[in-house]
């Protein structure tokens, strides 16, 4: 048995606090499930800092700890709460190095989830961070990806926005790209959409639609690897699927960059442009397997016609 993402985060955090004088700050981080088992059961004296239930102040306090060199891990339990937390993170931590040459390395664990949690807390919000300068953005879903994000953070003096998803916490396997010489379409998936895209691609294979599938971890800076570009050149058709909103969102932004790079149509699919309700039938979550498969099917069939 390998380690899950949750165990990887907890173990790494424990070492950071106990061996590197790091800090872990957040609201209710020591409550009930210790954020899905991702927070090591340590004390305040050992570096676990419970913040007040005032998000903007809490984010500012975490930024203050960063600017004096403690390399804090800052946990945002619901990624929708970035609408509060964005102010100090994006206006101070992200700009400090450019403005004053003063590094402000803070590791922002911003956790998305979905399923009946309503209009505010649900979904990923990495798009709002991507559009502001100074804060790299990644969305790891596997233990290895999360560790690579951590190692990047510890090797640099920049803040890092880590768009986590609760569906990743129990995962213990890595995800490799799928490539086929005769693929019909190139699919690039982000965050929890990756899990749905894997199922959608498998379902479509049974229908005679073959997909190349790539997993995007680093959203900003976005540097598509050669395999992605080669695939797009070969299939001539792309789709970016994300767990953030589609309109003015990361999926469209990445699709735009790929289209400029390859001069082939690259489409986007993300959350719909509507408010989510709490009832399951009113939710607005990551595009599901049916939705992704349907979109790919439609794109491929339209081209065949």
């Amino acid at each position: 048995m390998g380690r899950t993402v949750a165990q990887t985060i907890a173990d790494t955090s424990r070492r950071h606090l106990l061996e590197h004088r790091g800090l872990l700050l957040g609201q209710c981080v020591t409550a009930v499930g210790w954020i899905g088992g991702t927070v090591p059961p340590l004390t305040e004296a050992e570096g676990i800092v419970e913040l007040p239930m005032a998000d903007v102040a809490g984010a500012g306090i975490a930024v203050g700890a960063a600017v004096v060199g403690r390399r804090p891990i800052y946990v945002i339990r619901y990624q929708g709460f970035m609408w509060y937390n964005a102010a100090p993170l994006l206006n101070y931590a992200a700009k400090s190095k450019a403005m004053w040459k003063v590094p402000c390395p803070i590791f922002v664990r911003s956790i998305a989830m979905e399923g009946g949690i309503g209009p505010v807390a649900s979904g990923s919000q990495h798009g709002m961070v991507m559009r502001m300068p100074g804060m790299p953005v990644c969305a790891p879903m596997t233990p290895g990806e999360w560790l690579s994000a951590w190692e990047w953070f510890m090797g640099h003096d920049d803040p890092l926005y880590v768009s986590e998803h609760r569906r990743s916490f129990p995962l213990e396997h890595e995800m490799n790209p799928r490539r086929h010489a005769r693929a019909d379409v190139t699919v690039l998936a982000v965050s929890a959409a990756r899990l749905n895209a894997i199922e959608a691609v498998e379902r479509l294979a049974g229908e005679g639609i073959t997909c190349d599938l790539f997993h995007l971890v680093w959203l900003k800076p976005f540097r598509p690897d050669d395999l992605v570009l080669e695939s797009l050149a070969r299939t001539g058709l792309g789709l970016v699927v994300d767990s953030d909103f589609e309109i003015a969102g990361p999926s469209r932004s990445i699709a735009h960059e790929l289209m400029l790079a390859m001069s082939v149509p690259v489409h986007a699919q993300g959350l719909e442009d509507r408010t989510a309700g709490f009832a399951p039938h009113l939710d607005n979550g990551t595009p599901g397997v049916d939705a992704i498969a349907g979109r790919i099917r439609d794109l491929v069939e339209r081209r065949r016609r």
Partner: protein, 296 residues
Amino acid sequence: MSRSAHLGSISGLAGKFAAATSLEMFRKICFNRFFELEVARVYDTGVMKAPIYLSIGQEHIPAAIATASTDFLIFAQHRAHGYYLSFGGDQGALVDELLHRPTGCAGGMGGSASIHDPRIGMFGHSGLMGDQVPIAVGAALGSGRRVLTVMGDASAEEDYVCSAMGYAATKRLPVLFVCEDNDLSILTPVATRRSWQLADVARAVGMAALDITDDPWLVAHHVSDLLDQLPAFVNVRTCRQVWHAGTGNDGEPEWNRFALIKETLTELGLGNEAAVIQEEARQRAARAWDERSPRR
């Protein structure tokens, strides 16, 4: 509490300071003031293309705090030239910053509003009013060092300021919160915006708090006392003589603290020394600008 030039005054307090201390504080006050007057002069020539935030009329507050102690990390706001200078910031780098030069203290990126100097532990301000307060609290939490954070009476109303003060009180973090209260947000008086007093809020969350006038001896006296009981909050009633931004003014201020300070020094028998210090500061400030921005 009623706003006045004498709020919280202690009779005979200035006389209890050593003459050398009073004169050194006056030296800082004068340099802050004449530096700002030089900024205003140069600004009015049109060479500065970004807004400036002058502290003329309240330049003695940072000088008074620095007289009590310079052992702080500093998180001030957009109106911070006086803090930068009083705590020993590089004046040449500040001149360059105001002239948008890459040799400025913020590489020309900060202008008047976002100055800093790591050598004196002064951090820049992002422009988001009041965000320096929670960041200062986090810096105290992370470093264990004594931290000074400065706000205005308007930015103090930001909700995150009050919650950050509450957290500092809860965790007993060594933060000195100072509000420079000129009773105005641009031109909107405090009474129009709120019925409560900042010092009452600070006391309510569990820290020592004072509401006093901007007499520099009074400020220095109380700051010295509070250093051993941080976190603490000091609301300083003051009157700026120029607009929120730029060099304009709306006539005489409610009180002219600079004139009152000189009266006190004269009463202390230090009038002649003060006059010499004032002239030296005027010349030093002029030189600081002439060396980097020759008069045309």
